[in-house]
Symmetry: C2
Subunit: 332 residues, 2 copies
């Protein structure tokens, strides 16, 4: 039990692998101090609000420990950024607290490269961090900006709102399911596995969609705990209920072909890690939202409606279906 | 290897132990969204800069795993806040990424209480977080504010500057030394152990001192890696050297009575975790700084001078002393 002193080598590694992560800031925000001091500093114009979120990913809990380090970095970064998208915010900068069992240069080089690649694509600068020696763990705090009083909250859903989701559901969970059941190498599943792996390791933070929704949606959340759990967060925060149309859930055909119907429902409703947006809008915006999704080449699908009950009710063929067997489903 | 989905119990525990951590913000900054959404949000008046820093503490690396949970929380929080003090910033809010091996309610209640107590004393609100199941680890990101372009950096030290430190050196390291050598229970050391334990578990973030230094000091750093290592950070960032007067180091008499002279030097120069400020000021400010320390009841001690060499030279009785045996000392 020592202190948190770092060795000379550690300082050198930080410099070597985590410098040069500076990218242009947007919207007039400025990073006035980055990596290398006691803290980072930013300045914001007064029309902006700062939005930030912290997320931890642990080896073998959130990602396979032997996965490619670049993919691990990418997934950790993009899933963290997804929280900004859900607020309608634009990424500005991030900090990284990295715990490593050993200073493996090859691993660090790949991790750093994956992180830099993802961060550069979003102009999101690394501005600070902490490295410790311990079980592999990645904590990121992402900072973004949104016009003042425009952020998308979980609490704005209104009775009668339409519920939409972006992208497809269950694909990331399908990857972990195949991994857990040792089916990643199954010859007939290679095309599907590729798609599921992309969903798992390269989730698309819906930044542009989130930004567009700040003036259109009543609320939004990103799907990290699974549609059921996350829609419940919206319902609880907004004090509403929801009707879900199970027949409308956007599913890749590779998902429905690979798994049986019950498994598909579990993956789509209970599977987390899709990092798609779930949001609600007034009914009169239906056409506008669908057109917006088309223009952005971001699939958006209407999957249900907000109600004034305190429950989520699921429908299929216009009949109520009991979904209480789905993991992630909770009465509240 | 699953996803990062949380169980119902986990959500309830977050609500139970980590809500009601809201305190008044100062300087016109506003927390517009706290715990419970995808992200937190803050608004800043344009005269302020936001300063933030992330820190991880791992069980048995940074604190004894069986220590009181309230003390663990307090130490993690105060040491993180110390980075804000070193920038001259005032605490505003923080996020917490907590990894726990199990959901132990007694432990969480004590942890939460220690954290709340420390945070309340500094009006620093908890605005977001993440809980995961894994090896005990605490990552905090602290946010603070400072007047624009006034933050204290490591890079401003000038040739001829006087070097000051606040408080006393080596006391926190003395605690870990006694812990490691099974001497915490030694009957003749109980008074000293109490003092060292206080330094270790209740470091005093020098917020008021840091704020006052924004208009007086050329640079500052908080002592987390040990005086040698941290002074080297200043020298490297400022491209200067330093002369240290070993006879002037502020040491508790309990330190010099408990340890032999070599150990005392190791603890004072190489021991981390004091979280005192080391800062440099122009020579003409000597009296002003000493008076300021007295007025604040914060001991400040002149311990050396910045030079234009690239080295730290140590003096005792006006003679150069070779300190290369001190762990934490590095030529650069």
């Amino acid at each position: 039990m020592g202190t948190n002193k770092k060795t000379h080598d550690e300082f050198q590694l930080i410099e070597r692998f985590f410098s040069n992560f500076s990218f242009p800031a947007s919207h007039g925000a400025a990073i006035t101090l980055g990596v290398g001091d006691d803290a980072a500093a930013i300045q914001l114009p007064e029309h902006l609000e700062l939005v930030f979120s912290i997320d931890t990913q642990l080896a073998d809990t959130h990602f396979p420990v032997d996965a490619d380090a670049g993919l691990i970095a990418q997934r950790a970064f993009l899933s963290a950024i997804s929280d900004l998208a859900a607020m309608g915010a634009t990424p500005l900068c991030f900090t990284l607290a990295l715990s490593l069992p050993e200073y493996n240069e090859t691993w660090l080089a790949a991790f750093s490269e994956g992180l830099r690649h993802s961060a550069a694509a979003l102009n999101c600068s690394l501005v600070g961090g902490d490295t410790t020696r311990g079980p592999l763990s990645i904590t990121l705090q992402v900072q973004g900006t949104v016009e003042r009083n425009c952020s998308l909250k979980r609490s704005g859903a209104k009775n009668g709102d339409l519920i939409f989701v972006s992208g497809f559901l269950g694909s990331a969970a399908a990857y972990t399911k195949l991994l857990q059941t040792n089916r990643l190498e199954a010859p007939d599943l290679q095309h599907a596995v590729e798609l599921f792996a992309a969903s798992y390791y390269s989730p698309i933070p819906r930044i542009a969609l989130g930004t567009a929704l700040t003036t259109r949606a009543h609320c939004a959340i990103d799907l990290s705990d699974g549609l059921f759990a996350d829609l419940q967060h919206i319902c609880k925060a907004s004090r509403v209920g929801a009707q879900l149309n199970l027949d409308a859930l956007p599913l890749l055909s590779e998902l429905t072909h690979t798994f049986g119907p019950t498994e598909v429902q579990q993956l789509a409703l209970g599977g987390g890690d899709d990092y798609e947006l779930c949001f609600t809008v007034a009914e009169e915006r239906r056409k506008e939202i669908i057109k917006m999704g088309e223009d952005m080449e971001c699939p958006v699908t209407e999957i249900g409606r907000i109600t004034d009950t305190g429950n989520i009710e699921c429908y299929s063929n216009n009949s109520i279906v009991d979904m209480s067997h789905i993991k992630g489903y909770q009465h509240f």
